[in-house]
Symmetry: C2
DNA sequence: GTCTATAAATAGATAGAC
DNA sequence: GTCTATCTATTTATAGAC
């Protein structure tokens, strides 16, 4: 199940469908996505979807799995690297940001799947998600052992990192709509600012020299 | 446009439709929601939807507006209260949490609408959203003036608060699915822990005695 | 692997009686 | 305000030719 290469002319029909479907699911959600539109966007006959995939749901599940497999791989490498704990936290944040940028469909699809209660997550995908959280837990435990961090539930830290990052990457459309009305002065956010802020916030939550 | 009372037997057909639709949109998204199912859940004839609302889209827009109106009102009161800036930030976090709990459909619907690029937000609703962010900006400016906070883009702080909170309230289903597989030790998170963590994180981002 | 044609179900919306 | 009946379009999916 390799990640689909970008929409090159030479991409296989399966790759073209995969990539077109990711865009369609991101923009319209699982129920809102139409296999007709996916096929049209991929410039492939609709029947080919059912040649390559068992169903619309199976195609969607494959896209979910591909997303989390990529993140789990990258995050696992970070956790096993030689950096000190604080840099590993920074790298974890950066890894999510890199993956969200490389696959623009990732943040909206994940938000939508959360809203669906994770109905479409198969066993392999929940395994990837678990391994992402476990990697973060390992980094935190390491920092606690070296007295750099205080012990914090990894899910809390995960939420404080992934929540704001996904919100930023998925909310371009909404921020545009707010900006159009000229109401908020500072609707401009850029990626480095957001990533730096999330890194700061995550480390702030973990610092053993905490207040409170 | 009053908030729908809970599904009492005596509720008007409009209120019943409103409340049933909120649940349906939260669970299935705008495209996935079916007016037939909404009518059935509300125990009301389908034609009544078109008697009370211009269309499925208009009904959905009303639900969005109702959500953000409630949050904007509560947050505005917080900003105008007599608390000191740090307590106002804590109250802001609490306000989002209270509203998310009072309307369980709010977090999933908001995630989905973000993914849709805010297509269904009308002018009044974007106005409410803007006023929420402006209220937060006012609180921050106040803290900066009294030397308690450093200046931070309100949108960054907003993301660091709303992202994790919505993720927590919307992700019960996903967390259950991870927990079922027994993989993550500590999938248990409770509301007070999450709210306290988000409050701590938000204040950490604003503290003028910052590192870095 | 790729296509056409089509089945079968469901969608949003409305007309019109009461 | 509430109902039945219905129109029209679109949906996922498949059968079968090439």
């Amino acid at each position: 199940m390799p990640a689909p290469r970008h929409r090159r002319a030479g991409a296989t029909s399966r790759e073209r469908l995969f990539s077109a479907a990711a865009g369609e699911f991101a923009a319209r959600g699982f129920a809102g996505a139409s296999v007709d539109r996916i096929a049209r966007a991929a410039r492939v006959n609709k029947a080919m979807i059912y040649y390559h995939f068992a169903s619309k749901a199976a195609l969607y599940r494959d896209i979910l799995r591909d997303m989390f497999e990529a993140v789990a791989t990258r995050v696992g490498e970070t956790a096993r690297s030689g950096m000190d704990p604080a840099d590993k936290i920074r790298a974890f944040v950066e890894a999510i940001a890199v993956e969200a940028e490389a696959r623009p469909h990732f943040p909206p699809i994940w938000f939508r799947e959360v809203a669906e209660g994770g109905r479409h997550l198969d066993a392999r995908t929940t395994g990837h998600i678990t391994s992402i959280i476990r990697a973060l837990g390992t980094i935190i435990a390491e920092g606690v052992a070296t007295k750099h961090f205080r012990p914090v539930n990894p899910l809390l830290v995960h939420g404080a990192i992934v929540g704001p990052l996904l919100l930023y990457f998925a909310s371009g459309g909404v921020r545009n709509r707010l900006g159009h009305r000229g109401v908020t002065g500072a609707v401009r956010l850029d990626r480095p600012t957001v990533v730096a802020h999330v890194q700061r916030v995550a480390l702030g939550a973990l610092e053993s020299s905490g207040h409170e």
